[in-house]
Symmetry: C2
Subunit: 126 residues, 2 copies
DNA sequence: TGGCAGCTTCGACATATGTAGTAGAATGCT
DNA sequence: AGCATTCTACTACATATGTCGAAGCTGCCA
């Protein structure tokens, strides 16, 4: 499932809290997004066609629910980035992240801790 | 500079070895890409318009050179993924990568080492 | 019960992206 | 010189994406 930029903004708002109406979602979109209400509705319809969200009518108002998990969406996006921009390998990506200083000292420290903790355990989510 | 999927495939081929002609690039595209020669040319023209590559005529044949570095392109793509899909924070991304088992034990170990070494140094930004 | 307010559905349109054909110029082989 | 090969430049077209406006329901309140 590939989401477009606009779709990500909507899905992010929806994952944050749902079910939600179009109005609800509007208020949770990034501040710099200034869509007409119908623009959002159009996007929601398209997401519904794509089976990314479900649409239920409560009397005259539609209530939406995500049908794809954030985890799956992230996985797709991540894989795409990896394949498309980093030769499909973690190595280049890791190097890139470190070289670009995408991590500050504190983050590095946290990361090290996470890594060390996780090294002991197994387990998954969803 | 945002590159599309098709553009990434071309730029990857061009970064790999350049200058290069359209024919050269054709041979280095992913195996599953089966474009007509003119399709590639169209893409190259668009990349040229976008100032992502330069086009020089050697007599009657165009020779291309990347004008944007792979590093910069990766940076854009990475930032976009981070902002769009991971709340713009490394934390969620790191957790995601670990949970998804994108890193095996050895890689984690290496990563920890790199992190600890780099922790002392400083660097610059873009 | 007449309306306003808010929702919904449809249709429309611009730009972006993917994909390619055609025509004509430049090259090079014979 | 004449022809086949190979390029380039243009044009075209479908689908995807971003953005709305218009018009028609629904429900609630004075």
């Amino acid at each position: 499932m590939k989401l477009t930029q606009a779709e990500w903004q909507i899905m992010n708002a929806l994952w944050e809290k749902h079910p939600a109406t179009a109005r609800d979602i509007m208020t949770r979109l990034p501040k710099d997004v200034k869509w007409a209400y119908t623009t959002l509705k159009t996007m929601l319809s398209r997401l519904s066609e794509k089976e990314a969200v479900s649409e239920q009518k409560q009397s005259n108002t539609s209530v939406y629910e995500p049908l794809i998990s954030q985890r799956k969406a992230r996985l797709s996006a991540f894989r795409l980035l990896l394949d498309q921009s980093f030769d499909g390998a973690m190595g280049p990506l890791m190097h890139f992240m470190l070289e670009e200083q995408k991590l500050n000292a504190k983050q590095k420290k946290e990361l090290i801790e996470i890594l060390q903790n996780e090294s002991e355990e197994s387990g998954e989510t969803e």
